[in-house]
Amino acid sequence: MTDLMVEATGVIKDYKISQGLFRGKEILRAVDKVSLSVSRGETLAIVGESGCGKTTLAKIMLGLLEPDGGVVKLCGKPLNEISRLELAKLVQPIFQDPYSSLNPRKTIGSIITLPLKVQGDLSPETWKQRVLTTMDLVGLPSRMLEQFPNQLSGGQRQRVAIARALINRPKIVICDEPTSALDVSVQSQILNLLNELRKELELTYVLISHNLAVVEHMATRVAVMYFGKKVEEAETEQLFKNPKHDYTKTLLDSILVPDPRSARKNN
């Protein structure tokens, strides 16, 4: 049995671009009939250059944007039939920049508690305990409960963002470039954490990244997007060994291998 957690069929998103005061609007198709499916426990990576529509697609899957065509189903239910509160329990985002995704005037404790409040969770007396458990899960010491985001390092902030995403125990987590704003040593900590959490909480990830080494390490399947279209999708090993589409080949050729010998051979 395969549980389809995310199922997108023929998703289209158009943006109207103003050409000037008296001219008509031009239509930019940001996402062009993209179909994807992600089963339980999988990590699907979406790669592509900036502006190819990968973040737009993520926003559609999160229910933050209305698609102009096509259907997105989460756990078998069409997205527009799921209420917003229910949706938030199902799918949560982790964004790129932990410096802008956390409210600077709230303490870490209240940032992580907010999803519980919004959900109208019925047992407020358990909130603090649950926040502490989640903080422990993502490796944040409990003394940070009363601190503010500006007192934390980039890696710790990203851990707060992860804790906030996980406190309601979602089934799907959409990570939009979760480590590209971080240093390499912090990146490895966060990637390790995401991998541990996936096993422990049986999460399904959609990972958006332009770092192919990260994708190779994390993803089970990869979808390549180019100018709004999905041009290739394959198991990670397959794709890295035997890329079919020309753009995928170019992309793989531009990986900079951290090995001076093989790097020099290619030049």
Binding site: E49, S50, S153, G154, D183, V184, S185, V186, Q187, S188, Q189, L191, N192, N195, E196, H210, N211, L212, A213, V214, E216, H217, M218, A219, T220, T236, F240, T250, L251, D253, S254, I255, L256, V257, P258, D259, P260, R261, A263, N267
Partner: protein, 348 residues
């Protein structure tokens, strides 16, 4: 004997902040040879960008620069006045920054900005200057160049803008180019193109290049020599092969184990990591810069077959035995003891 285009000895930078002095860069020395690429690697806040700004004399006003010796080619630029330095910058010393949109002037065309460089530094104007500009744009792969001359920076893509920046830097045929994360803001495919272009042009122009980056993949591709910076100090320095084959400082080892390499670590297996955080360098910092950052595997690596030879007059600084250009420096005795036993260390 190769000649050095840049020589910096004992550069320190201190910045007054609330709570004391921030010792951002702590007596580092570096040199770049003609036609050589020196990569400075390190994580954010380790002082790599400040080092480059200090060389160009573009530090923020509050920062205090102390340096024993600084020469560019034949010139001793240590005590140059502001006016003298502005004759050097953009002329003998070129700069390429991370975000080309913010280094180009948005209200002038490509042609205007490039012509200005030529008239300012080399007093070339008119048709001759224009021909040079076109020639240089074509060298950096902007073909046809004439079409781009009258465009404004916002009409160019990120990759093209960076190419224009490179062309502009090369116009005055500098001896040294300092590139601070020039490809970080670009897509991977464009990044590969720009790196290749820079490497080729460097060979053509035989210019010294300081390349600042945090991406070890980029380092492996472009560097001849590498300086690894950590918490304001250069902890290890050597040829690119020495650094990648024989990392001798625990920080370099940690950095190399952190990056996912396709085919090296199995999917889902944990990557190596450097635990903890960089210590705050405010005030009279005298403790160990690396405490709390040891990962579990460091102890096992103690028994590696690397031997160190002490360098005279420098505390905790060593040369790796069997190599003339590979140096490693520890912040304190404790760090050293943890990484190498006494048998592995020799007096000079």
């Amino acid at each position: 004997m190769s000649e050095n285009v840049l020589d910096v000895k004992n550069l320190s930078i201190e910045i007054p902040v609330a709570g004391g002095m921030l010792r951002a860069v702590d007596s580092i020395s570096l040199h770049v040879e003609k036609g050589e690429t020196l990569c400075i690697v390190g994580e954010s806040g380790c002082g790599k960008s400040l080092t480059s700004l200090a060389i160009m004399d573009l530090l923020p006003k509050k920062a205090i620069r102390k340096v024993e010796e600084m020469t560019l080619g034949e010139m001793n630029i240590l005590n140059f006045s502001e006016k003298q330095m502005s004759d050097v910058r953009g002329n003998k010393m070129g700069m390429i920054f991370q975000e080309p949109m913010s280094s180009l002037n948005p209200s002038f065309t490509v042609e205007n900005q490039m012509l200005e460089t030529l008239s300012r530094h080399r007093a070339i104007v008119g048709a001759e200057a224009k021909a040079l500009v076109i020639q240089m744009l074509e060298k950096v792969g902007i073909i046809p160049a004439v079409k781009r001359l009258r465009q404004y920076p916002h009409q160019l893509s990120g990759g093209l803008r960076q190419r224009v920046m490179i062309a502009m830097t090369l116009l005055c045929e500098p001896q040294l180019i300092i590139a601070d994360e020039p490809t970080t803001a670009l897509d991977v495919t464009i990044q590969a193109q720009i790196l290749k272009l820079m490497k080729n042009l460097q060979n053509d122009f035989d210019v010294g290049l300081i390349f600042i980056t945090h991406d070890l993949g980029v380092v492996a591709n472009i560097a001849d020599r590498v300086a690894v910076m950590y918490a304001g100090q250069i902890v290890e320095e050597g040829s690119v092969f020495e650094i990648f084959d024989n990392p001798s400082h625990p920080y370099t080892r940690g950095l190399l184990s952190c990056i996912p390499v396709p085919g090296k670590i199995k999917r889902g297996e944990p990557l190596g990591s450097i635990p903890g955080m960089v210590p705050s360098l405010v005030g009279d910092f005298s403790g160990c810069r690396f405490s709390g950052r040891w990962s579990g595997d460091d102890e096992q690596k103690k028994n590696s077959n690397i031997n160190l030879v002490a360098i005279d007059n420098e505390e905790n600084a060593f040369k790796v035995q069997g190599s003339e250009s590979h140096f490693v420096r520890f912040c304190c005795n404790e760090c050293l003891e943890k990484s190498y036993n006494s048998k592995q260390r020799k007096a000079s």
